[in-house]
């Protein structure tokens, strides 16, 4: 039986994480930034599943459920804020933010 080495799965998780990180740092659209954060969180979740399978424990998958529910809470607040931002600025581009500066 062919199994995938855990290191490779972890590498995949790390790559997803970096993709998400680059997304957050480079995107200027708030919704896309939130999506990139989601990719990072899910990459971390995947790393937990991989680690759990390495030790043959359910703990990794339990952590993934926790991450999912926490991400849902976070996105619901985030989307509410984005709605309000659109309401005020008529845009969801981060360039329209900038009331706070030195």
């Amino acid at each position: 039986m062919n199994t995938i080495p855990v290191e490779q799965s972890l590498l995949l998780a790390a790559m997803l994480f970096v993709i998400g990180l680059i997304g957050v740092l480079s995107r200027r659209n708030v919704i896309l930034m939130l999506m990139s954060v989601e990719i990072m969180l899910n990459a971390a979740g995947m790393a937990f599943v991989v680690a759990g399978s390495r030790w043959v424990q359910p703990d990794g998958q339990v952590m993934f459920i926790f991450i999912l529910s926490m991400a849902a809470a976070e996105v619901s607040v985030g989307l509410a804020l984005i709605l309000q931002m659109f309401h005020i600025n008529k845009s969801i581009d981060t360039k329209t933010l900038g009331k706070l500066h030195d």
């Binding site: 971390a44 390495r54 030790w55 984005i82 009331k99």
Partner: protein, 481 residues
Amino acid sequence: MTMNKLITTQDLMQLMPFILMLAMPVILLIIIAIKRNHLFTWLFTLATFAAVLVTVITNFNQAPLNIALLTVDKFSLLYTGVFAIVGLVITLLSHDYLEKTSDHKEEFYLLLVFATLGSSLMVASNNFVSLFLSLEVLSVSLYSMIAYLRNQDRAIEAGLKYLVLAAMSSAVLLFGIALVYFETGVFSYTLIGTKLGQIGFTPYMVAGFAMIIAGAGFKLSVVPFHWWTSDVYQGANSPVTSFIATVSKGGMVGGMIRMFTLINGLENHSVVLVLTVIAAASMFVGNILALQQNNLKRLLAYSSIAHLGYILIAFISFGNGGTQAATFYLVAYFATTLGAFGIISLLSTPEGEAENISFYKGLYWRKPVLAAFMTLVMFSLAGIPLTSGFVGKFFVATSGVKADLWVLLFFLAVNSVIGVYYYLRVVVMMFSNKDNSPETIQCGKGISSGLIALVFIALMIVYLGVYPSGIMDLIQKSIIN
């Protein structure tokens, strides 16, 4: 055959401070759904924090309770008690502030209690799962608190910035935990500590701990994870800013103290080196950025970066009375910061916050009592003797001397001098010539529940500065073994 009980009445009693902070807001939520009443909600929240404080005091001398996710010992109870007192003070300050700025006031108190719960649980966490969960309880409550005045674009901007960056830092922290779990197969701090003793710092462990420190460093707003601080401090309303500066950071400091104690993380030289660099950079960057600042809230944000650097010195000198010094410094800093933001929120009007330093020009001639409070607060931040800030710095320096951290102590001394300059600039501004003071600026009403809170804070600052051994004995008793 004996029944193996999962949880006993005794356990529940010991968990009571946390249960209260969970149950009371839920009850309040239902009451708000039926009928809104600001005064009742406010009194209910005060009662909640008072009840938490009472249960903390009655449980304080119990034997530590260790359950799967939490350790309720003197250390976590001490922090929970302090957070409850801070919660009380912030509730007192929030009433007038919300009354004059917000049209929907009641939900704020729910978020406040939930966020305090998150911070308290963070200190009680004995493994990474509960650390993560309590961190998120704190963070998600904070997002909504920061953007609470939803019609202000600056509040929304601050909320969004904090949300994106905090979620990102949570992801970093999580990935770090995943790497540690990948290498050890356990979440509990104690078991990870044992495992670490056997396998040492493997590359996965190094990467994992680096990411955990980065995630925690974001919450503590230490350099180089400090970029959000000034914007969020400025954009959030003052009661919330005082919460971010105190309970949110205190929870993370407490959580890290427990984590590093149980894992023995500070026996590794590279971890100490990384923390030393972070501490030094935080002190310098924070103080230098604060020098040119004309916005008081941003000034306090930058100064908080520097103060966290001071706390890190105590943190690094761990076994040499460092944890006690860090805890004392936190308490002293809490009192001082609450005072500063308390005055700002008292002086704020519906049109805007009293955040510009020029607003304080000649304040003494208009509001002598508030100006006197502000002077005391600034003296304490600068570390002038007879204030809490001085004693805090003294304890930090003592632990640093015992641990031979001479370079960091030299930086501490240099930075204290830089700090004195910009703190005293505010004081000089307040006592400056009457004729130049902008008379047109309207001040908020003076006598209120916020003023009671300020008197309490002022007494605390002087008490901690004159008679620190009262609190210090308590802190000595509650160190983690």
